[in-house]
C-alpha cells in the first residue's frame, strides 16, 4: 500500500493508518476511512498507510498494539481508533469531525 495522497500542503487532518498485510480488516478500514474523508473533509486531509509487516520498527513510535489502527496526528491531541472503522459515527466523533450531514 502506498500513500493515498502526498503533498507539501498543510492539511487540517493528518491521518495515519497502520495495517498488517492485506487482510480483509485492513482493506475494510482503508475503504471506510477514505469514504468518510471524502465525505466530510474533502481536500483537507492526508492519509498515510503503514504496513507493519514491511516496517515493523514503526509500531513502537505510535504505540500500536491492535491493527488496524487509525492515528490522528493532526489536530492534536493524538487520537487512536482501532478496528475496521465500520461505525461511522464513532470514527467521526473520534476524529473530532462535525458531521456535515447534521
Amino acid at each position: 500500500m502506498a500513500k493515498a495522497k502526498a503533498s507539501k500542503k498543510e492539511y487540517k487532518w493528518e491521518l495515519r493508518l497502520y495495517v498488517a498485510g492485506n487482510t480483509p480488516k485492513s482493506v475494510a478500514a482503508l475503504t471506510n476511512l477514505k469514504r468518510y474523508c471524502e465525505e466530510h473533509m474533502k481536500d483537507q486531509y492526508i492519509i498515510e498507510v503503514i504496513d507493519l509487516l514491511v516496517q515493523p520498527q514503526l509500531a513502537e513510535g505510535d504505540q500500536i498494539l491492535a491493527v488496524p489502527t487509525l492515528v490522528r496526528k493532526v489536530p492534536v491531541p493524538i487520537r487512536k481508533i482501532i478496528g475496521d472503522l465500520s461505525n461511522e459515527e464513532k470514527v467521526l466523533v473520534g476524529l473530532n469531525i462535525r458531521p456535515v450531514k447534521m
Binding site: A28, A59, D84, L85, G94
Partner: protein, 578 residues
C-alpha cells in the same frame, strides 16, 4: 529441595529447562522455567513480579548469554532502568550491547476508540521485531493484563491472548507473563487459563505488622518441584529464594569436639566440650550471663583460627565488645582480623523468614564454623512460637548440614527451670545449658548446669557460675546438709568448715596425748602386776624347792639312819629287816 528430574530414566525425553539465574529458584524448580514455554508469575501489587521477571531477563543476558526482551505495559523503559539500578542492573548498558531490549507499550483508554473488528497483530509484530532484532531467547510481558484496561472487547482480547501464547511457543522463547492477583483466582483476568505449563505465585504476607515475601510454585507441568511456600528476599543483589526446608535428617555428623571457651564447662561436658556441628542452647533468666557465655564461645572459635558469625538481636556489636572487654575478652581483634563478623538487627526489622534468609545468605557467603544467635527469644515478637520453632528447625537443619556449630541463647521468662524454653527448641538442640539465678541470704548468684548433652558423658552437678575480670569460671557449689549454697554463703560455709577442721585437728592432737598418757599409766600398771606375779611365782617356786629339799634331806637322813642300824645289828647275825 525436590529430587532432581535427572533421576528419571535417561532414555526418556525430559522437559528442557531454562535457568533463571535467581538464587534458589532454580533449585526449587529443579533447573528453571520450562524452555520455550510461557510461565505465569502472579501476585498482588508490590510483591516483586516485575523484579523477578526482570532479573530473569538480566541474568539470562549476563550469565547465560541469552538475550531477552522485556515488554513493559506499566512502566516506561527509563523508569524501569532507574528502578532496578539500585539492584546493580545496568539496563541501559545491556540495551546498548543489544543483550536486552526494553519495549514500553503504552495503553491509554482515553486515546483509543474502538470501532469494529480488530486484532492484536500490532503487538505481535512489535514483539516479533524486538525478538528478532536481538535474537532473544527470553521474553517477559509485564503485565499483559493492562491490555484489558485499555481495550474493551474482551472476546477479541481473549482470543488474541490465546493466539499470543501459542505464537510465543512457536517462536521457541521462554516467556514470563506476569499477572495481578484477583479475587478467588490466581489472576484477575484468568491468565492461568492460557498459561498452563508453569505458574508461580508470589505473596506478600503481613503478620504482626511485619511483611514477608513468599513464593510458591502452584504448578509445573512435566516437572517435579518444591511445593512449599518459600520465603524470598529482595536486597542489593536481587532476589534470593531459599529452599531451606530440609525434610531429611541425613547430614553427616562429626565426632570432633570443640571447646566452649570455659575450661571448667568443658570438664562438665566430658572434658572435651561440644561436638562440632552440634546445636547448643543456653537458656536462663535475665542477667545470668548468657551473652557472656556466647561471646566466650565466639572468642574461643576465633582463637582457634576459625570463622564465626555473631547475630545479635538485642545489643549492638560495639556494645557487646565493650561489655565483653569488662570480663577480659577482646573481641575487637577478631573483628579486625576478619575472623569474626557481627550483625546486629532488631528482630522487628523484618519477618522471621527474612531473618532466616538473611542468616542463610550471610552464612553462605562467610562460611563460618560457628554461628551464634543471641537471643532467639526476641524473635517471638515477630512470629508465633510455632513459627519461630519451624524457622529454627530449618536453621538448625541448614547449619548442621554444613557442619556449623550453632549456639543459641534464650531468655527463660519463667523461673521454673524444668519447663521447656518458650521457643520450644529445647528438644531440637543437642546440648542445653541452663543458667539460673540462685537467690538466698540477700544475694543473687548464678548456677549453671547441663540439662542435656546428646552423645556424651556430662556432669549432673550444678556449678556456680562466676564472672570475673578475667573471664568466666565455674565453681563447685556447696551441697551441704542445709541445701545448695552459693556465693558468700558458700564462702562462709567453706570458712566455717576450715575452722571446724582446725579445731578438730587440735582436739584430735589433745586426745592423742591423753591416750599416750593413759597408755603409760596402764603400761606401768601392767608392769607392776607383772612384777607382783613374778614375786608370787617366785614364792610358790621357793616353797616347792624347799619341800623338795626337805624331802631329799629327810630321805637322806632316813637312809643314813637305816644304814647305821644295820651295822649295829651285825652282832646278832640276823637282820629283822630281811
Amino acid at each position: 529441595m525436590p529430587p532432581s528430574p535427572k533421576k528419571t530414566a535417561p532414555s526418556l525425553p525430559r522437559l528442557r529447562k531454562t535457568p533463571t539465574g535467581i538464587t534458589g529458584l532454580d533449585e526449587i524448580t529443579g533447573g528453571g522455567l520450562p524452555t520455550g514455554r510461557p510461565s505465569l508469575i502472579c501476585g498482588a501489587a508490590g510483591c516483586g513480579k516485575t523484579l523477578l521477571s526482570l532479573e530473569f531477563i538480566v541474568r539470562g543476558a549476563t550469565a547465560y548469554d541469552e538475550p531477552g526482551v522485556f515488554v513493559a505495559f506499566e512502566e516506561k523503559a527509563e523508569e524501569l532502568a532507574l528502578n532496578v539500578a539500585s539492584l546493580g542492573f545496568d539496563l541501559l548498558k545491556l540495551q546498548k550491547e543489544k543483550k536486552i531490549r526494553v519495549d514500553y507499550v503504552h495503553i491509554d483508554r482515553s486515546e483509543i476508540e474502538e470501532t469494529g473488528e480488530y486484532d492484536l497483530d500490532g503487538l505481535f509484530i512489535r514483539l516479533g521485531y524486538a525478538i528478532d532484532s536481538i535474537g532473544a531467547k527470553r521474553v517477559v510481558l509485564d503485565t499483559i493484563e493492562n491490555l484489558f484496561t485499555g481495550l474493551s472487547n474482551q472476546a477479541i482480547l481473549r482470543a488474541e491472548l490465546r493466539r499470543l501464547f501459542g505464537w510465543l511457543k512457536e517462536k521457541g522463547v521462554t516467556a514470563i507473563i506476569t499477572g495481578e492477583r484477583g479475587d478467588g483466582s490466581l489472576t484477575r483476568q484468568g491468565l492461568e487459563e492460557y498459561v498452563s505449563d508453569c505458574v508461580i505465585l508470589l505473596d506478600n504476607r503481613i503478620a504482626n505488622q511485619i511483611s514477608t515475601r513468599l513464593l510458591r510454585i502452584v504448578k509445573y507441568r512435566g516437572s517435579l518441584h518444591g511445593t512449599n511456600e518459600y520465603p524470598f528476599l529482595i536486597d542489593a543483589e536481587g532476589i534470593s529464594v531459599l529452599p531451606v526446608t530440609s525434610l531429611l535428617l541425613d547430614h553427616d555428623v562429626s565426632t570432633k569436639r570443640i571447646s566452649s571457651g570455659v575450661p571448667a564447662l568443658d570438664d562438665m561436658l566430658g572434658g572435651k566440650g561440644f561436638y562440632r556441628g552440634s546445636s547448643v542452647l543456653i537458656s536462663g533468666t535475665a542477667g545470668t550471663g548468657k551473652t557472656s557465655l556466647a561471646a566466650i564461645f565466639a572468642n574461643e572459635t576465633c582463637v582457634r583460627g576459625e570463622r564465626c558469625i555473631y547475630f545479635a538481636f538485642e545489643e549492638s556489636p560495639m556494645q557487646i565488645i565493650r561489655n565483653m572487654k569488662s570480663i577480659g575478652i577482646d573481641m575487637k581483634r577478631h573483628l579486625d582480623s576478619g575472623l569474626l563478623e557481627m550483625h546486629a538487627s532488631r528482630p522487628t526489622l523484618f519477618g522471621l523468614e527474612m531473618h532466616l534468609v538473611d542468616i542463610h545468605k550471610k552464612v553462605t557467603r562467610f562460611r563460618p564454623k560457628a554461628v551464634i544467635l543471641d537471643p532467639i527469644t526476641n524473635l517471638v515478637t515477630v512470629g508465633s512460637v510455632s513459627e519461630v520453632k519451624s524457622m529454627l528447625i530449618r536453621l538448625i537443619d541448614f547449619l548442621q548440614a554444613e557442619g556449623i556449630t550453632v549456639l543459641f541463647t534464650a531468655l527463660a521468662l519463667n523461673t521454673i527451670v524444668s519447663e521447656q524454653t518458650d521457643e520450644g527448641v529445647s528438644s531440637l538442640v543437642d546440648a542445653w545449658l541452663l543458667v539460673r539465678d540462685i537467690e538466698s541470704n540477700g544475694e543473687r548468684n548464678r548456677g549453671l548446669y547441663i540439662m542435656k548433652s546428646r552423645g556424651m558423658k556430662h556432669s549432673n552437678q550444678v556449678r556456680e557460675f562466676v564472672i570475673t575480670d578475667e573471664g568466666l569460671d565455674l565453681v563447685d557449689v556447696y551441697l551441704g546438709p542445709d541445701g545448695v549454697l552459693t556465693g558468700s554463703a558458700r564462702d562462709a560455709q567453706q570458712i566455717s568448715e576450715a575452722t571446724g577442721r582446725i579445731l578438730r585437728t587440735h582436739a584430735l592432737s589433745q586426745k592423742d596425748v591423753e591416750i599416750g598418757r593413759k597408755r603409760k599409766v596402764l603400761e606401768s600398771k601392767v608392769a607392776s602386776l607383772h612384777a607382783e606375779f613374778e614375786s608370787l611365782q617366785d614364792e610358790l617356786n621357793r616353797s616347792y624347792i624347799e619341800e623338795d629339799l626337805r624331802k631329799e634331806v629327810m630321805e637322806q637322813n632316813r637312809r643314813e639312819q637305816t644304814a647305821g642300824r644295820q651295822h649295829k645289828n651285825t652282832g646278832n647275825g640276823k637282820s629283822k629287816s630281811k
